[in-house]
Symmetry: C2
Subunit: 264 residues, 2 copies
């Protein structure tokens, strides 16, 4: 019998940075990824809809007999994590806590900036997670709704992206932060543009590696094998755009399968 896979979902393509990090740390595990490309983006939807979509995604992955679920979407992690933990029998790991922990560990001044989608920022999930680790930290938050569309358009650098980043990040820079959490799995793809703006004064936290380490720690049954694990990538809408970005992140031989998602 093949070893049970680890399930990972995101609203779209961004969570592939998490898939890649898990694959790197746990190369023998079977991994199954679901990108909800028929309903992306989640970041500007209401809490109820974000929760409903997250539960439906988990149910889809449950059919593949997963042994653990990684919620590789900051918006879903911010709203649906507790519900998913309650409703499903396998361990559920989100991206917010590992990212918050990495930020508190790295920051010296404990003046920490958070950027994310409108919904993630509105939830206050990162603020709460950081303050529960260090009640004396000071947290500054900024929603950056245009970053995801810019990244999906492939404008990872250039004048427009720099100008948008400047418009969004100037306030945080004025607050003298020394650490900035990229609170959306898309954002690592414009890390260079952000780095150029904040320079060496600010450490950027990319939560993908932090999550992968958390998965390694929490995993109930590690696969014992010399062989590489199998990676499957499912989407609810197969588009050329997803395929292009997926190959950029995961390599040219990446295969993508379309599945249909059951609404409640």
């Amino acid at each position: 019998m093949p070893e049970k896979p680890i399930g990972i979902f995101d609203s779209g393509v961004g969570g592939l940075t998490v898939l890649k990090a898990i694959k790197k740390i746990l190369p023998h595990e079977n991994l199954i990824y679901f990108g909800d490309t028929a309903r992306v983006p989640y970041g500007n939807r209401s809490p109820n809809t974000i929760i409903r979509y997250s539960v439906e995604n988990a149910r889809l992955l449950q059919k593949f007999n997963i042994k653990a679920l990684v919620v590789a979407c900051n918006t879903s992690s911010s709203y649906a994590l507790e519900i998913l933990k309650r409703e499903f029998p396998f361990p559920v790991i989100g991206v917010v806590k590992p990212g918050a922990k990495a930020a508190v560990n790295k920051s010296k001044s404990k003046r920490i900036g958070i950027i994310g989608t409108e919904a993630t920022i509105k939830s206050g999930a990162y603020r709460k997670a950081i303050l529960s680790l260090d009640p004396f930290a000071t947290v500054f938050e900024k929603a950056c709704p245009l970053f995801v569309p810019l990244i999906e358009e492939g404008w990872l650098s250039g004048k427009v992206t720099e100008l948008v980043a400047e418009k969004y990040l100037q306030d945080l820079m004025d607050k003298d932060i020394d650490t900035l959490v990229l609170g959306c799995t898309h954002y690592p793809l414009i890390k260079d543009t952000i780095k150029k703006l904040v320079k060496d004064k600010v450490t950027l936290i990319d939560s993908a590696m932090a999550v992968a380490e958390e998965v390694e720690k929490k995993l109930p049954h590690r696969r014992k094998s010399e062989n590489e694990g199998v990676v499957r990538i499912l989407v609810s809408d197969k588009t050329e755009r997803f395929e292009r970005i997926a190959k950029m992140i995961m390599g040219e031989d990446t295969l993508i399968e379309e599945v249909s998602i059951d609404s409640e």
Copy 2:
């Protein structure tokens, strides 16, 4: 028995410009609008998903006993119009043909530009509609995927929007077009920024009024009444963002109801 309403759907908030135009021309008609805000945007999804969503939206409005359906979404009009006409018993009116007709009528040089979402441009629907009206016209097309997110962010003017518009429109300007079709119901909201760029050389075609005139012509039973018609606005996800933009377009006393959409 109350008079049957006219149904109108769009992927989100953009089609409200069409609702407003219909309300202006046919103030006595009852109108019911559905914005599929839980699944917006349609413009970067695959044809199959666009068709499925469009049929589900029409089915939802059918429950309200509509006498005609206006597809106020360019992406849906480009892919799903013939299927909707075949599947449903009421007249179905799209936005592409009326917009194409207005462009051919206005253009002197018959060098016509089209801007729209990735899916609308890829479908070639405007090109086909224009060439069927005037086989000697020359059509230039450009997808502008960042316009919708910019408009939804509320950046209707300013340096970023100007720069993005310049980046998208420069090619079309170089082709010496004299008419430009705003092939997405969101785009009229950044008309001023586009106008500033193309100046008086280019006539902008906003299809909302053209569609409203088409509806007036095709309507089977006109309502006879001295009273104003009732307007209902439904969405699949009620967000503050939608409410804010809807009030900007339709007035401060606009009420918005959330409904759930049945997947197939």
